[in-house]
Structures are given as C-alpha cells and as structure tokens.
Symmetry: C2
C-alpha cells in the first residue's frame, strides 16, 4: 500500500467482495457483498477500502493516487447496472454514502442518502415520479443532511428555518409544506451553507458532492467521538474506515414499485412460509408512518406475480446461504426486486425451537448448531402462560419476578375471604395481594391465580410458596400502598378497588391493570427433540430443587436427573404443620422440645416417603433445617397490632366482666408469644442462628429429621422403591460442624436401618455457602461425600449484600456498571466464582471422589451454567420449570467448550 | 536398652538428673531434678526410667533384669539421706510413687502417697508424732488409695464402709471418727481387698507395695484412658512412662515442723520481698481446710529463725536459677526445710511489669525476655479501674464486656433524670440502665459513671459511645428485665430498685450488687520503660481508632502513631447534631438533601480540625460515612409506642377540640416519620445499603464529607499544623466503587485546595472488609494508596455470622471446640486469615507501594497481632486504651519471629 501507487486497487465493486472481507470493506460493505454472493438482487455499489483511508492519512489527508479514477470507473459500472446516469436530469442515478469500520463503532459518520441531487436532477426526479413535492422534499432533506454531516453546519440552523416556515402551514407538519414553501426552504438552506462556509456554496456538481462525502467519511475516523470510543474499547487506529457507495432505489416510482419487510419463516410460530407485509408505490417511511395500511405478503402474488415468485425463490437461497431464518427489507423499483438488508430474524421461543428442529430435518444445520440457536431463557415462554407480547395494557407497577407465569384475577386482600372465594365455583378467579405473606396466609394462597406482595424478595415466603405451587408471583412491588380501610390499592395515580381485575406477570415482574390476554404454554415434540439432542451433548447433569412430591413429579417430567435440594423447612409453610413446629421452638426445655419433635416426625416422614416414591432410582438430596427459627413464628408487628387492638376493645368493654377476663387472657397469651418472638429476634437473620448452628445447639432437631428421613427411606425400600439418599448439612463454616452433624446422621442411620433389618447406602454432604467453607474446603471435604454450592447465600456473604435489601442500590449499581449484572441472577465470576473454583479444587484435592453441585438460583441461569461447566462441577440444580432451560444451556456450554 | 541387660541403668537418683531429662525421667521427675540442680532442699528420690517401662512391655510385663536391684539400692540412698528406714517401725521412711510421661497426660495413674505404711509402721508413726489418730487416718487413706489405684478395687466400696461408720459419729465428718472407729474401718478395708482380689490380702510388706505400685504405673501406660488420649493427641506409644519415687516429709511431726506457700516477690505489687503464709505443726491440708489461721511469712523469723534464713536464701537461688518470680510449696520437718514444688507465680499486671523491669535492672533477664514475660492483656488492669480481685460481692448477671473499666453508682433508668442528676453536684454517682441506647439517650449518658444495657452487642450505640467516652459499659445483659412501672430491675431472684447501688465491670461484663471496691489504674515508670523497650523491637506500627479530638488526645498519650480509623458517623451520635442528619436522610429530593448537608458540613469541619490539631505530624485516616442511614432515625418500636399512646390520649380527650387538633397533628407527624423508617428498614442491615453504597447512590453525601475534610485540613495547615491525611472508602467490593468515590475525592480536593491556594498531600484508600474485596485485591489496589482490613465485618461475612446475633450459639461453639476462640476476639486465622493474607499479597502484586493496616477490634488483640505481624501488614489500629497492649504484643511478635 503506497499512497502514490496509482495502480494499487483502492476501490472494489461490491460484486468483487464477500462476507469475510470486513477488514478491507468494513462491516457494512462486506455484508452487502455477502448478499451479492448469495445471489440476491442488491442495489449495485462499490467500496473504497480501509487501506485508502490509511493512505489518505499517510498522504496529508489527500486521496491516494488513482483512487478517485477508480471510484469514477466504479460509478460508471453502477450506471450501467441500473440504467441511470449520475448527475443526469433524466432518470438520475442517486447514491448513498456510508462509513464502515471492521468493528461496528458508534460515533462514526452517519449515512448520506440521495447524494447526486441538485437543482437539475431534482426536477428530473420530479418528472420521473410525477411527484414534484416528493422530489423537492428529498432535495431539502439532502441539502440539510449534506450540510450537516459533510460540511459541518449546525443542524439546528436548518431546523429553525423549517420551523419558521411550518408556522405558515395549516397542519404545522412537514407534510403540510407546499411546493412553493419547500422551494423557499431549499433556497434558505443554500444561503445558510453559503454563509456558514464563508462563501463556499452548496455544491451542485454530484461528483464534487461525492468527493466531499468520501473525505468527510475519512475525516470522521479521527473525529473526537470516534477516537474516544477507540481508546475506551482499545481498538487500533490503524484499522481505518471504508466508504460504501450504493445506488439508491425507489419504491415510490410508480405502481409497479413498492417496499416491504418479510421473514423467511413465521417468527411467531416458526411455520415454514413467507411472512411479512408490503405497500406499492411507497417508501420505507410510508410503512413506518402508518398513514396507509400495508398488505399481507401473500397478496403480492396477485398484484405483481413475477416479483412474488422472485421473492419466494430469494427466501430459499437466503436460507440456504445464511442457514437461519432471515428478516429482510426489500424495495421494488419499476417491477424489479431489490434487497436492501437481511439479518437473522428475531423470533419467539416456540418459533426458535421449531425453526431449529426443522432446519436440522431439512439438512440446513446440524444438531449442535440447532442447540446453539436457542436463547435458553426463551424456553421459559414455552413452559408458562405469558402476557401476549402485543398486549396493550397499563402497567401499574413492576416488582420482582418471583414466580414465573402470568394470570389475571380480581384483587382480594384478605386470605380468609380468598379461601371462601376459592370454594365458590361460580366466583371469579382472584389474585391475593398482601404486604407480605406468612404461613398464616397459606390457606388464602391455595386457591389464588397469582400472588402479589408489597414487601419481600425472591426468597420471601410468598415467592417460595408460589414457586412451589407453580403459581405466578410478583413480590416486593414497593410502590403499591394497601389501604385496608378503603379496601383498595393505591399505585401512583391509580386506585384499584377490591374486586377489580389485574393481571400479574411473574416472569417479568409486571402488574397490569385489567384482564390482559395471556397465551398458554406449549411443550411440543420439537422441544422434546431439541432437548434430547441437548442431553446427548452435555456433561453437566441437571437436577431440580423440589420440596414436595408434586414439585418432584413436575421436575421429573421436565427431565430432572434427581433432586439437588429438598428444603425440609418448606414443608412447614402450611398452617396445620406449623403448630407443632411452633411448639418445638417455644419449648422451654429439652423434654418439651422432644415432645413437639415427636409430633413433627411422622409428618416429615410422610413427606419424604412421597418424594422418594416419585424419585425412584434417582438421587434425592435432603437438606436439614436451615432458616432461623423465628421465621416460623408470627411477625412482631402482627402481634403488637393485635395486642393494641385487644387493648382498645378492653377499654370499650370494661362493663362486661366475663368479656374482660377473656380479653385479658387473650392479651396475656399474645404477650407471652411476643416475648418469645423478641427473644429470637435477630439483627441480621441471614447471619444468625440458622443452618447447622441449630443442629449444633439443638442436636435433637437434627436427630428427629434424620430419623424421619431414614424411617421414610426404609419404608419405601420395602415397597421396592430404590432410594438414592443424600443428606445435606447447611451453612457449614468449619469441618467440625460437619463432623458433629454427620456423627448424629450415621448413628441414627445405624439405629433405624438396624431396626428395619435393612442396609441402605446414603451420602452425607454439605452446602458450601459461606466464604469460609470454600476457603477450608480441603478440610471439610475429608468428611463430605458431596459439596453443593449454595450460590444465593455465597453471593450474599461474599459481596456483603443482602438480596432482600439490595433494591435500594443494586439498580444504580447495574446502571453505573459497578457490577456487570445482578449478581443474584448471573453468578459473579470475578468474586464468587473464585470461591467456587477454589472450593471445587481444594475439596477434590483431599477427596478425589467428591461430587460437586450448584443449588442456588444461578443453577438455572444459562450464563452461570456456562461458568459452572467450565469450573467442572458435576451438576446444577434449579427450580423444576428451569430444568429444560438448564439442560439446553448445559449442552450449549459443552458444545462451545469443545469448539474452543 | 535390652530387658535382659542387668547392668543397663534403669534407675537414676534424682540428684543425677536435670530439667532437660524429661524424656527419660518424665516431666515430674525432671522437674524435681532441676530443683535439686538449683541447690534446693528437695525430699530425695529416684526415677525409674521410661526405658524401663518399654523394657517391661518388651518383656511380657516383667521388670527388666537388674531394675529391681537398682531400685532397692536407690531406696537405700533415700534412707541414708533422710535418716529413716523403709518398713522400720521407728521413724519409718514413707514414700510417694508417681507416674510421669515426657508429655503431661491426664488419664494416667494418680499418685500413691504414704507408701510404706502397714500395721507396724503405722504404730511407729503414731509414736513418733504422738498423734495416733493421725497415723490411723493416714493408714486408712493409704489402704483405700492403694486398693483402688494399684489393686483396682472400686473405690465406692471403701466409701460405703466409711459412710456407714460415720453415721455412728456425732458430727458425721471424717475428723469425727474415733481411733477405734478408724481401726474398724482399716479392718473392713482389708477385708474388702481380700474378697475383691480373690484371697490376695492387702500387702503388709512395703517392698511388695513398691513392686506392685511400679507395675501399676507401667500398666497404666497401656490403660484404656491413656491409650485413647494418645490416639487423640497423636502421642507415640513408645514414649513410655517413668516412675518417680520420693521420700515423704511431714509438717505435722512437731512444733519444729510446719508447712506453707510463698512467692519470691509480691504477686500483687511486684515488690521484691518474700510474700506468703505458713502454719507450724500442720500439713498442707490444714492450710486449705481453713480451721487454723496461717501466719504471715515474716513471722517465721521469730519462730524458726534458721529456717527463715534458709528460706530467704533459697528464694534468691530460686530466682537466679529460674529467672522468674516463683510460687513455692514448702514443708518444715523437725527444723529442716523441704521444697515440694516451685513454679512461676501468677501475678497482677502491675506486678508483672514491675518484676520484669526490676529483673532487667538486677541483670537476671534481658529486655526481650522482660517483654515476653508480660501477658499483654494484663496491661488492661493498669489502664482502667478494676474490681478488686478479692472483692466478695454478688454477681447479678454477666453481659458483654463492651467498654473496659469498673465503676459503681445508683441505678437510673431515665436519661432525662440522669441529665438532671449529673448537674446536681450533691447527687450520688449513677449508672444509666437502658434496654438499648440511641442518640436520643446521649444526654443521659454524658454524666453517668457507667452504662448498662439489656440488648445490643459490642458495636451497639451504647458500647461505641461508652468506649468513646472512656466509660465502663456492659451491653446485652439479656437476663435483666426492666420494669418501668415499678422502676426497678429484675434479675433472677434479685429486684434492684431505682437508686440502689450496683457496680459495673466493663472489662469482664460482670454486674455486681451494691458498691464494690475498685482499684485505680496506674501508668507508672516501669510500664513506660517496658513500652520503650517494646517500641525499639517491634516493626508493626500501632495506631488508634479515634472519632473525636478527646479520643485522639488519649490515643496519642498512650503512644499511638496515628489514627487508623476515624468514624465520621460517630460524630452524629449526640442529639444536637442528629437533627440535620435526619433532615438529610428524610430529604425527599436532591435539593432538600443538599440543603441539609450544608448544615452538617461546618460541624464536621470543626470536628476534623480539632482532630488534625491533636494529631499534628501524625497520619489521620478518616473513613467516609459507613452505617445504614436508618441508624440515625428513631427506632420503629419507639414510634409505634408513641403513636399508640397518643391515640389512647386522643380517645380520652375527645371533648376538648383544641387538644384533639394538637394530638392529631402529633400523631400524623410521627406516622410520616414511621413511613420513612419503614422505607429504610432492612432485613439484614449489615449487608444492606451502607458504606460506599451510600456514596454511589448519593454522591452529594461523599462530596460534603470530603469538602469538610479538605476545608478543615487547609484551615489548620495555615495555622502551621502538619496534616497527614488519609481518606478511606468503606465497604468496597469492586474496583469500580473505589474508582467512583476517589474521582469525587480528587475533584473536591482540587477545588478546595485550589480555593485556599495550597497544596496538600493526601492518600486515598479503602477498607477491605468483604470477602470479595480480598479476592479482587489486585484490581482494587490499582486505585488505592492503602488497604485497611476491617476485620470485624470481614469476620461477619466470611463466617456468615452476625456478631450481634451470635450470642445464641457462639458460646456453645466455643465449648464444643467448633471454633478455637471467639472469632470476634481472636482472628480466625484458618478462614479470615487466609483472606487477609491473600488481600495483602494480591494488593502488593499490582501496587508495591500499598500500605496495609488492620482496623477491626482484632487490632488490639495480642494473638491476632502476632498473626498480623506474620502476614506482614504495616500497622494495626485499635481503641486508645489498647494501644499500650498492642505495642507490647507487636514487640513480642517481633521477638518471637526473630527467635524462630
């Protein structure tokens, strides 16, 4: 490359290039070349190379020798291909000029359209189209665009002229300007340029226009914004920018012209048939403006059968070439079809799956490519009802997407009323709305379509119970005020009364006013096929978090290969079972506690038996009691309120002695409970007396749970069920804790299996959910058969960030890029990831047989799954509905890592 | 060593050994040998070596050839030295037989005393002492001891006989047994042994007794308890046990005999004079029993001048030999002094310092040894008033030792009353007792002698404020119930009314009933000398945590080399300053917030100026606002209570309209505040919106604080003060957070110094108090001049353990050895320590100039300081009163690491 070498090739016709020539042609030029190579009818054009740009800078901002001559020759070629002439009044060739670096770079020069217009060609265009107003308007726009982008005039000056002129029109819109007014505007624009450019007029010569535009593109490469951008993203200055010049085509030339958009397959269902719309005698702008209603693409066969046939054929070759469903923009000029742009089309989850599977059948792509084509999160749509994407509805507020799916119902505030309503078969479906829920609201949640809470996070009672029941839930919608007296919700300006319809979208956290249509889930054959391919490729196993037999059943139907986390505490979230639990917690001494535990044991045993039966031959990991005990007690506020209300009543009823006595006894009972609640109250419950710390202080609780587990396992084993039991100790920070708890487990196991006269294999492992546990994993692993990384708590402790409280600052953290993602959604690889890696390595160092898994919410997050695959854990465990997503994501991770 | 080599030396006289021969003689034998080498009169004895024990096992539990002969010869030597004969009725030699391994091992054989007694020698002893009852009692005890320890008879059988016999006495005590009854007991004991041992009688032959006792010692080495102990502590079986045989001496032989204990220097003051007490014609038991009052050791010079002179001389040689103050047990037998035991004596902090410094002066030890002699925590006693160690007082309860020192005062429950009392110069001193304190109680704390709270931990408001004011504080004394109606405290069975005296010991957490004498602190020349030596040796620098100029002054007087942590939030803990802070927090928008901040700025500036003046030429690290904002608001409970009470009042006053209006407005105002409190309420405030997360969301708060700091620094600089300013950003988890905050700091610094026309060097650094920060220290260090490890929060997050909530389980964790120590007192080296080490290494890897320090409570803990010294941090920072302790501990760490 020598700027003085006139024979060096500075200019290429786009027919000479292909899609790989990004470095030389820039991204846009290479893209158009690829379309040409794919045999598509693209408006002809040429590229001035990035080398020419570099030569320009090497040559004191002069075009390299020969470049302009080569560009002129290329321009002739365009004239030949289009039958138009650049600068000719009759049928004038107009062109677009674009900048284009190898890497897409905002801050570079914008596109200049309709270059080639001047006073003469404008009249020619007017004559050709019979639309003088259109031609003048195009000229007016071109002068302003050229003046601003190429000549550097402040565009506000053009805007002011236009505004002043529009005042004199009736409607005050651009389209209300008369031809005369447009002529005035054009003259005013020319005067502005003349004045601003110190006497240099707007160039009437199209070749001058082109020279200037090319220079402007080259100059923009060293413009302030482009240079700053390259500094930040460490892009080399030497890349340079190319210039792409392309012929303009007009869909509004006559009634044999038109414009449209089309998908090669249906983006909503994936069906293999052309999908789209068009308008004859129109430009792209007309479609966007919505002043005329576009026609359905099938109708083109009647109106312009030849063009329709060509379009059909083109979609075939497009898909053969790109091997993906394409979204195209086309223009018809005088009966000739031109493709302006093609790109992979956006599609729904259902369409994505169908298209991928179909394309494998059609031989267009292989199975691995099909797997990589699906955004795993898109599967969510296939598994839950969703709010129709085109629904027009008022969003009242957005809370946390606590349990996926969408449902509509009338607002109900009281759980007792909810329970009654649920029993009435004629009643409307309802949404239970509460500040937050507790086990005492459970009966009201059972019959609800969805649950909506004002407070609480993704792990609040409402969220956990709703996920367990597969109901949509939006939690922590803090902008809702519940007015219990008026029985209504206040949300900003809206007042939603009890009984009014709302729609809750638990997948996105949105709450809509009224009854918004939802679409039902589909779990069709294509998805099963795709997941079967995925299962063949992944190495990471996928389990589910399931606390009940119903959850477990669902998980198994979604392909879970076991239960990675069964939380025993959730079994107490319904009110009937809560009672003995409270007795246990409030016990004053060991004997009382054991008595209460005896009542809990058979309940737990039944639960475990049901789960074991469902999970026959698959592993089940049962975690011992984890949350702080006060979670099972009524809330302090509720108690205080009750006491206060009882006191008021007492004040008012001081005449009736029997009533007084009764009130006093009720008050005293609640005050006793309040004292207990206070005793157990914690400043930071996340970091309090929970997990194995409960079992250390109250070994009898561990003993009861383990006894229930082994009694259940022995009973179902004698029914012929194969139990693969794994017992998990939560919140371990030291190896002694695990040792202490596993001694209890082994002893009780011996006792129970001995009494049944059975032998039973089982594993004992631990959660790794505290930084310390990861740091001393080598020691802990000596006593563990498996590690399960509890990434929720590990994230909270590693970052020192309470998930329930992070709403105050996390949004602004994401905006300021302090963290790349919400660390509770996507694993924080840099921080938490280090501890997971360390935990796995150190654990395996002392115990090569150690199994490792993930059981936090991240276990169902595709990007996190890619990380877990890289670290080499054995399995992830996620909520049942995310199992298909995790299977797909795991396969993608495996394919990508084998490709790398 | 060959069990058949009769010439191998199996038995050594203790005069042949020394203190280093633990392996051969066992610990006890070597100890006595050392005393002999030190020229002390020790009852003569011999050791049968551990090799003999091993030979015994190699030889099917037979004594090795020659061993018994050698033992007999050694026994003769004892007879010669004592002038007594083994087995002779007149003046019989009695001996003790002890086991002794090289490593002290509980679970081995106990001592057998008075071996050699039989029917004949007992009568001989009776004749010699003229106390036949004493002789019979000794014999009775010997038979039981021998029967149990050597012959393996269940001691309960002997006990039952004794109990049955005692029923027939008047008092029912051992000493009430008559000679006849004792004779009956002896015969009964003999019959038990005969029966239990299948016809083998109690051996009358003293040599048989000795043979059997030696065998029993050897056998005990392979006893169950000893073997288990060795397995747990990984002690090799091959060590074997020695047998130590020593002549018995009797202090109750006559009035020229006696027994006593003595310290070579005064253990209370350190004064160099013999200190102790004795009883003539008495055994050790008599001193312990307290039936006779012992005499002060000085009186011995009158009673037995020769012995007293010998004792004086012995203490000299003892100290020359052991080079430390000794605590000795002695017996005088017929005018001859025998030393039974010597060991380093326990002493008070004051004594420890004085003795160490004196001994350097006396040339007994060098300065490093003197430094190592002091338990650093003992210095605490020298810096605060303490409850006299011998005080006899009722301990009402024990809470957390939240602020050291002891004080007595009358109980006051109401802060307003406390404030009035403080202004009355005639009033009694008082202790303020509260459930917990908030800034609204500050005025009541000012005049209090001490503060006592029912709830709250070591970092509660009460604790922090009391430490700041240097007042004793016991926090979280949960067993106290405050009864506001009766105006009293209930603690178990005790009821303490308002106005009654209590004494609070903030160093130990104890609360005493009544006015308990306290001893005043002394900061004398010896301590200054010792600390001067320490400063010469340590490499770790010592700074103080100080939030006010008063704290800073105290810190400097204690030798702090700078302020390592100045918490700006504590400046708002008094009520006057709280008001603008609340305005800032409750601001509805940016403008209101900035307005409130403008009021805070001059207050902060004044504070900083005062601190800078005190710390002229020493570094001052100021931490930006750290705690969650709701800490500055009134408690939710107080508000709810107030509202409820106002509502009651409203109900009662519904007749007076003006009063009603006033009440309603008061209620409404508090309800507004309550809503704000609710909005800011957090589930886990430790992990919530605090630290730099405040500054990220409200940059104007950071800006105000930084402006106040630089305005203060510039102002005092112009007064000629040298400011070494370090600004610290709290709770950083990512490098972007630090970058964001330091951009504000640098900008404001430029603006303020520019306006003052000054230049000012300053450093910007960060707390490392989250696991993630330590893990990504390499990135953070690129933007930091220094790291300060906040070990309090780092411990809480690494272990997932809230300090405020750990009282429910931490005590049982320490008991079960789940953790070796309270991790909030002593740094958890295995877990948290790893992160500190990692943080230091990674930080220095990318920033070799990085300064590192510690500013958690561990900065003042001696064992933690040893760890920090090893890791190589540059400084520790602790509360002012712990500065001398840290200086000493740092010196000890340096000396020990140079010795290793």
């Amino acid at each position: 490359m020598n700027p003085y070498d006139r024979n060096y090739k500075w200019v290429y016709l786009l027919t000479e290039g292909n899609g790989d020539m990004r470095t030389l042609f820039g991204g846009k030029g290479a893209g158009v070349s690829e379309m040409i190579q794919a045999g598509l009818p693209v408006p002809p054009g040429f590229a001035i190379t990035t080398e020419a740009c570099n030569a320009y800078y090497a040559n004191e901002r002069q075009f390299p020798e020969g470049m302009w001559t080569q560009a002129t020759i290329a321009l002739h070629s365009l004239e030949e291909q289009t039958g138009k002439r650049f600068g000719a009044p009759e049928n004038p060739l107009l062109i677009s000029v674009r900048s284009g670096a190898a890497i897409s770079m905002p801050g570079m020069m914008d596109t200049v359209l309709n270059l080639g217009l001047n006073d003469e060609t404008t009249e020619g265009l007017a004559a050709l189209t019979g639309e003088r107003r259109f031609a003048l308007d195009a000229y007016r726009r071109f002068i302003a665009m050229f003046g601003h982008i190429v000549m550097g005039v402040d565009s506000a000056k053009f805007d002011r002229v236009l505004e002043r002129t529009k005042i004199h029109t009736q409607g005050g819109r651009d389209t209300d300007l008369s031809e005369t007014q447009l002529e005035e505007v054009i003259e005013a624009y020319k005067r502005i340029i003349f004045a601003e450019q110190h006497g240099q007029p707007f160039p009437q010569d199209p070749h001058s226009q082109l020279r200037m535009a090319i220079s402007a593109v080259f100059d923009s490469w060293m413009g302030r914004r482009a240079v700053d951008y390259r500094r930040v993203y460490r892009i080399a200055d030497e890349l340079g920018t190319a210039v792409t010049v392309q012929a303009m085509v007009f869909g509004n030339l006559n009634w044999e012209s038109g414009t449209g958009v089309a998908f090669t397959r249906n983006p909503s269902t994936g069906e293999r048939s052309l999908y789209g719309e068009y308008l004859l005698n129109a430009q792209g702008e007309d479609v966007v403006a919505g002043t005329r209603t576009p026609k359905y693409i099938k109708e083109l066969a009647q109106e312009l059968p030849q063009v329709a046939a060509q379009l059909d054929e083109i979609t075939q070759s497009l898909e053969r070439h790109y091997r993906d469903m394409q979204d195209i923009e086309f223009t018809i000029e005088w009966g000739k079809l031109w493709l302006l742009q093609t790109r992979s089309g956006k599609r729904t989850g259902a369409a994505a799956v169908r298209i991928a599977v179909d394309m494998v059948t059609e031989g267009l792509i292989d199975q691995s490519t099909a797997i990589l084509r699906i955004e795993p999160d898109q599967l969510e749509q296939l598994l839950h009802p969703t709010v129709a994407p085109d629904a027009e509805a008022i969003v009242l507020t957005t809370g946390l997407p606590a349990s996926p799916g969408a449902a509509a119902g009338i607002v109900i505030l009281d759980p007792d009323e909810a329970e009654k309503l649920a029993q009435d078969s004629d009643a409307e479906p309802f949404v239970l709305v509460r500040h937050e829920t507790s086990p005492e609201d459970f009966h009201g949640m059972v019959g609800a379509q969805a649950v909506l809470t004002v407070r609480g996070g993704m792990t609040s009672h409402a969220a956990v119970v709703a996920r367990g029941m597969g109901k949509p839930c939006v939690a922590g919608a803090g902008s809702i005020e519940i007015d219990p007296h008026q029985e209504c919700l206040r949300i900003g300006e809206h007042v939603v009364r009890k009984g009014a319809w709302i729609t809750v979208d638990g997948s996105t956290g949105r709450v809509f006013l009224g009854k918004v249509p939802t679409s039902e889930p589909e779990f069709h054959d294509d998805l099963l096929q795709l997941l079967a391919w995925a299962d063949e490729r992944r190495t990471l196993r996928v389990r589910a978090n399931a606390d009940t037999a119903a959850d477990a059943k669902m998980a198994r139907s979604f392909g879970a290969e076991g239960i990675g986390l069964s939380r025993t505490e959730h079994m107490f979230f319904d009110e009937e079972r809560l009672e003995p639990m409270r007795q246990m917690i409030l016990a004053e001494n060991w004997a009382e506690r054991v008595q209460a535990l005896e009542k809990i044991l058979p309940l737990q045993q039944q639960d475990f038996m049901a789960i074991f039966r469902v999970m026959d031959r698959l592993p089940v990991t049962i975690r011992l009691l984890d949350p702080p005990l006060h979670e099972f007690l009524p809330s302090r506020e509720d108690l205080v309120t009750e006491i206060t209300e009882l006191r008021f009543t007492l004040l008012q009823h001081s005449q009736s002695m029997s009533h007084v006595a009764q009130l006093i006894s009720q008050i005293s009972e609640r005050e006793t409970l309040l004292r207990q609640v206070d005793r157990l109250r914690e400043v930071n419950p996340m970091l309090g007396h929970r997990g194995c710390r409960l079992g250390l202080v109250y070994p009898e609780v561990t003993e009861m749970q383990v006894r229930a587990i082994f009694e259940a396992a022995c009973t179902v084993k004698s029914e012929g069920i194969e139990v693969l039991l794994e017992i998990m100790v939560p919140l371990v920070a030291t190896s002694v804790e695990l040792l202490n708890q596993s001694e209890i487990i082994h002893r009780v196991a011996r006792e129970v299996t001995g009494a049944h006269g059975l032998t039973l294999d089982y594993k004992v492992g631990t959660m790794i959910e505290l930084p310390r546990a990861a740091l001393v994993a080598d020691r802990i692993a000596q006593h563990a058969d498996f590690f399960s990384f509890g990434t929720n708590d590990l994230t909270q402790t590693t970052l020192g960030m309470s998930r329930d409280d992070s709403a105050h600052f996390l949004p602004s953290y994401i905006v300021h890029k302090v963290l790349p993602d919400d660390p509770f959604q996507v694993i924080d690889e840099e921080g938490v990831g280090q501890l997971i890696q360390l935990g796995v390595e150190r654990g395996r160092a002392t115990n090569p047989q150690l199994k490792t898994g993930i059981c936090g919410e991240h276990g169902g997050n595709p990007r996190s799954i890619a990380f877990f695959n890289r670290v080499g854990v054995d399995y992830v465990s996620c909520s049942p509905f995310r199992v298909p997503i995790a299977r797909l994501a795991a396969a993608q991770a495996a394919i990508r890592s084998s490709q790398a």
